[in-house]
Symmetry: C2
Subunit: 278 residues, 2 copies
């Protein structure tokens, strides 16, 4: 059975849209986009389109590749201080002459729509309320939408990135799953992935997960978005694996739309948080 991220995101977005309509003002996101990376532009535009459709306000602040760090600092600071701004998103990657860690840290973590700020990552670590990174959050929303049980399941994650693998592992543990994190240094990977009730591929290698790595009846989540011969391909060999999985996400229209939806949900949550504080 296909876990349809496109359809699920549409349903959840529709619900979100209704909630947004009832707010006193539109939640507002400021995106800072530096340079001319085509992938970043595409991604930023999809965020803009999505949020606009949901009745949210999004501004793209496009800065030149050669921008001075001080200018970025000033912009972020002004957004931090502006209580009409609910979310700030610094689109990565940024040019190398800029200090990414320092700029990310400068964003008020109460406006950190990406959930990448050290404070938000610490809050996740402590199982406290905070903004969760969009991709792991979107995956949980998708599983919940299909009522897939998580408690007591053995989740095996391939990949240990800060934006997917690691936060996702913590979110699964907090939902009472048993979690194994694997990566490029893992020995006997297949032995581990074959034990997974829920298998998550988030390593960025096209069609890496093959049929022999998957237990019959497993739930398979494919986070990969790889461009091969101008076509989007996941980290899972879908044609091979789909017949033996109980549920599987396609690429595209799987995790991708859920990530964008989770981001919009984060902005909504930031709006509510800010409103409570004023």
């Amino acid at each position: 059975m296909i876990l349809d991220g496109r359809k699920t995101a549409d349903i959840l977005n529709e619900q979100l849209k209704e909630k947004v309509l009832r707010l006193n003002r539109k939640p507002r996101l400021e995106i800072i986009l530096i340079g001319d990376d085509p992938a970043s532009h595409t991604y930023v535009n999809s965020k803009l389109k999505q949020a606009s459709q949901l009745g949210m306000e999004v501004h793209i602040n496009h800065m030149d590749e050669s921008v001075l760090e001080d200018e970025v600092i000033q912009l972020i600071t002004s957004f931090n201080q502006n209580n009409q701004v609910d979310g700030i998103l610094l689109q990565l990657p940024i040019p190398k002459h800029l200090n990414e860690v320092q700029l990310m840290e400068l964003i008020d973590f109460n406006k950190d729509v990406d959930g990448f700020h050290t404070m938000n990552q610490g809050l996740l670590f402590q199982k406290r309320e905070g903004i969760r990174p969009a991709t792991p959050k979107g995956i949980m929303m998708l599983l919940d939408h299909y009522h897939i049980p998580i408690e007591g399941m053995h989740v095996v994650i391939i990949g240990r990135s800060q934006i997917v693998g690691m936060p996702l592992s913590k979110m699964f543990i907090d939902r009472n799953a048993t979690v194994t994190v694997t990566h490029s240094k893992t020995k006997n990977l297949k032995e581990l992935t074959k034990q997974a009730d829920i298998l998550v591929a988030a390593l960025g290698k096209p069609k890496f997960v093959t049929k022999d790595m998957v237990k019959i009846g497993a739930v398979v989540i494919d986070v990969g978005i790889n461009r091969v011969d101008n076509k989007l391909v996941g980290d899972v060999d879908f044609d091979e694996v789909a017949p033996i999985a109980s549920y599987i996400t396609p690429v595209p229209k799987g995790v991708g739309p859920m990530t964008i939806s989770a981001l919009a949900h984060n902005l909504y949550e930031l709006y509510l948080k800010g409103d409570k504080n004023t």
Copy 2:
């Protein structure tokens, strides 16, 4: 073979002592101890004794069980502002009328000797420099002292606490181990623990880990400190498991002394960090 935490801590402490001697002033730790919990008093005293032996300065600020939150806030604030204070430790648990989260957060994370501050937990999550919680840090120091390889090993951790299980899992992943986190909701626990090259018991149940749960030749780390019939007992049934393990920590004199040593190492690191900043 026994992983002798007492002996290892003595060796590492001796090295630390020599480094401390060369500093311009003694690293200074302020411990805040509220109320009369006997276990807390014992623990604080062992920290005091250890640090004094290493040439560090430790003050215990004992406050009454009924202390007002404002008084604790004032004390923490004064230590935050005092650049002669390198580390601040709020001994847990604290009375229920005090807001633990807020007080822990109030401690300057650059003086957070316990590594419990949200910022330090976030820094660990991001694999960045920061203060690591003492027990996981002590475990890594012990394994390293015995030159036990970590990369590519399958580590299975029983327990998902914020101060041991979770930070330890991240520290092992950062050292390129494959990590499985198990807990009270894990099904077929034995099947998982039997796969461990390194098995860590940190759940707080006396003699929980029995021989049938351990692979022959595994490294077994026992974090448990349970008092049974007025005797300290670990989470591992030592007599049963020791004969099949390649390495095993005893209780007492295993992880315990390493935790205290790691705390002193943290204070030393905080001193250096502070000095760099002035």
